[in-house]
Amino acid sequence: MTVVQSPEQAPEQPAGRRRVPAAMLALIGVLVALALANGLVDVSFFTLGQLRNTLLLAAPLALIAGAQTLCMLTGGIDLSVTMTATAVAYVVGSRAAAGDSTVTALLLGLVAALVIGFVNGLAIGLFGVNPLIMTLGMSAILTGVLTVGSQSFLGGATRMPQVVKTLGRGTFLGPLPWNLLLWALLAVGLVVLLRRTGLGRLIYAVGDNRRAARLAGVRVWQVETAVYVLAAVLGAFAGILIGGRSGAVDLQLASSLLLPSIAAAVIGGTSILGGVGGYGGTVLGALILTVLDTLLTRLSVGESLRELVQGGILLALAWAYVSSTRRATTRRRSG
């Protein structure tokens, strides 16, 4: 990309680098403002117990949003990630109830996620199926299989193993839940993957310009397969956390997180067109959405206003983001 840049564009590059922290600062500002508003409504928000609750709610959303971020960075989207999470929770729960050991149950769940991610990735990367449609179809397939399965081969009682329950709602240290530890580990892994590894570079390259990446010798289909497998694995972890938190599994386990996960990534500055963004912003986005939700619950705002505010905030932040980076975007498109 740098080679083809015209001279007058080159000096603007550092400005482009400085803009990312500025956006991050703005997001942190929004988060702090929302937290303060929460505190104003009820001072107990700043107690350790409430902090723990917020983190407990934020972790699964942030993991699913991480999956979404990975896919969006390549210019795709994963609408099946919440169904993957549900499927994994189902497999783990029913296998554990059927008497398998915890390790076997967890491994089987992970295998399910790997298969789902692999099928998604191959279809999108190798066969060029539109990601929106592929993952939509996968979501439909999983819904059907789980609906039937819950009455037959996955039927009977689902029981989450004790380890999973501890992971989902247990306390690791002080106010810190176990799921925060898992989330932190995965988050660090994701950030390192995106910032420091070759695969990370390739993900950005594919999302920025798929054709150019292919011509430069990137095996695009392998990158995309890796991304969708990773997304499914992140979904699997989220499913295990949610299943552990609630202790029971149902078909709607994670579906309510699908749109918020996209919203979290978008609020965090990841472009749905690919190539722009990162996991740090997504984490902030997920925290903002969670704190906002807590605030709305505290104000005992009705369901209707809650949806309105969520939609409004998503639109406003996306709009603000685009208009602040518009010059760079239009230049990239015309270039």
């Binding site: 989207i77 279809a123 066969f127 060029g128 199926v129 539109n130 929106l132 449609i133 592929m134 939509l136 179809g137 996968m138 979501s139 439909a140 397939i141 819904t143 059907g144 299989v145 609906t147 039937v148 009455q151 749109l259 996209i262 919203a263 978008v266 472009s271 749905i272 067109l273 009705g302 369901e303 209707s304 206003l305 809650r306 949806e307 309105l308 505010v309 969520q310 939609g311 409004g312 998503l314 639109l315 996306a318 709009w319 685009v322 208009s323 518009r326 975007t329």
Partner: protein, 337 residues
């Protein structure tokens, strides 16, 4: 004139009827395949169901009416090169609006309220299109956000399932007894009165041009903003019809995010199976209508086979993926010399 004559490209010789027939067959091959598929599914169903007749057809056409309108709404936006994830939410909103307005109304007032609903829906479509064109935010995100907003408004109007519509109004959409032709008429009238003239007009051409190649359309002098906003407005019209037919079918309104999302995804599926390219600029409105009927017949037929109808969802997913997969493979083979 004689000097410039050689420069004028030679007009093709007047097409003979069979050439025209072949061309029609080639251009409408997808729709034709869907007609065949629908016929196969219907015949299959008729061999499985005891005394198959008007009742089954009535069930098929009336229960799918909202989804047909929603698929049409999505199709118009997709043809213009966009996507609208808020069609389901708009349907829910205008279901609630019309359901709460029409409760205890007479036929005349109900029709007036229907017009009000349609005008509101088109305004909502214009607003969506305006935000998409002015903000520069990708349409997926804008419509994702507005889908929250519309469901929020719907919940504000109708916190619990309520509302209603006069029977005389309901019969316009669902017919009385097992008469299924009112449903078909409801689909045909807006198609003939609005879509056909629009498609043949300059604006219709602009919408197709915008979807097929925005840059070329811009260079050719197409007002992209107007074309996109028009597409969203027409989509709004169809979501209003979807909402009105839901009110007629369920005799009331319900504001539910789950209903909205399921409907949106169903509409996208129908668009894809209906032969409308997601990249824009290709396809018509007939394909998605047939696709909705095919997709709704699959679970019914599975039931008669003794398969759990929940697998219908699986079959639907597989069909959609295979259709897109086949399409992209064909395109790839076609682009190779």
């Amino acid at each position: 004139m004689t000097v410039t004559a050689p420069l004028v490209p030679q007009l093709p010789p007047p097409t003979r009827p069979h050439v025209r027939a072949i061309r029609l067959l080639r251009d409408e091959a997808w729709t034709g395949a869907l007609v065949v598929l629908l016929a196969v599914l219907l015949i299959w169903q008729s061999t499985q169901v005891f005394r198959w007749g008007a009742f089954e057809l009535d069930t098929l056409f009336v229960s799918t009416l909202p989804l047909v309108f929603l698929a049409l709404a999505q199709t118009v936006v997709v043809i213009a090169g966009g996507i609208d994830l808020s069609v389901g939410a708009q349907m829910v909103l205008f279901n609630c609006v019309s359901g709460s307005l029409m409760l205890h109304a007479g036929l005349g007032t109900a029709l007036l309220y229907a017009v009000v609903t349609i005008v509101l829906a088109m305004a909502a479509g214009v607003l969506t299109g305006w935000i998409v064109t002015v903000s520069g935010v990708p349409d997926i995100i804008v419509t994702l956000a507005t889908s929250f907003v519309w469901v929020g408004v719907a919940l504000w109007i109708m916190p619990e399932p309520a509302g209603g519509a006069p029977d005389s109004f309901r019969h316009i959409f669902i017919g009385s007894g097992t008469a299924f032709w009112p449903a078909l008429l409801c689909i045909a009238v807006p198609l003939l009165l609005i879509w056909t003239p629009l498609r043949r007009s300059r604006m219709g051409l602009s919408i197709y041009a915008l979807g097929s190649d925005p840059q070329a359309a811009f260079l050719a002098g197409v007002d992209a903003r107007r074309a996109r906003i028009t597409a969203y407005a027409v989509a709004g019209l169809f979501t209003a019809l979807a909402g009105l037919s839901t009110t007629a079918y369920t005799s009331g309104g319900q504001a539910s995010l789950v209903v909205a999302n399921t409907a949106t995804l169903g509409a996208v599926a129908a668009v894809v199976l209906g032969g409308v390219a997601l990249s824009g600029g290709v396809g018509g409105l007939l394909g998605p209508i047939l696709a909705v009927w095919c997709l709704s017949l699959i679970p019914a037929n599975l039931l008669t086979l003794g398969v759990d109808p929940s697998y219908g969802e699986v079959v639907r997913g597989v069909v959609i993926v295979l259709v897109v997969l086949g399409g992209s493979l064909l395109r790839r083979m076609g682009s190779r010399p």
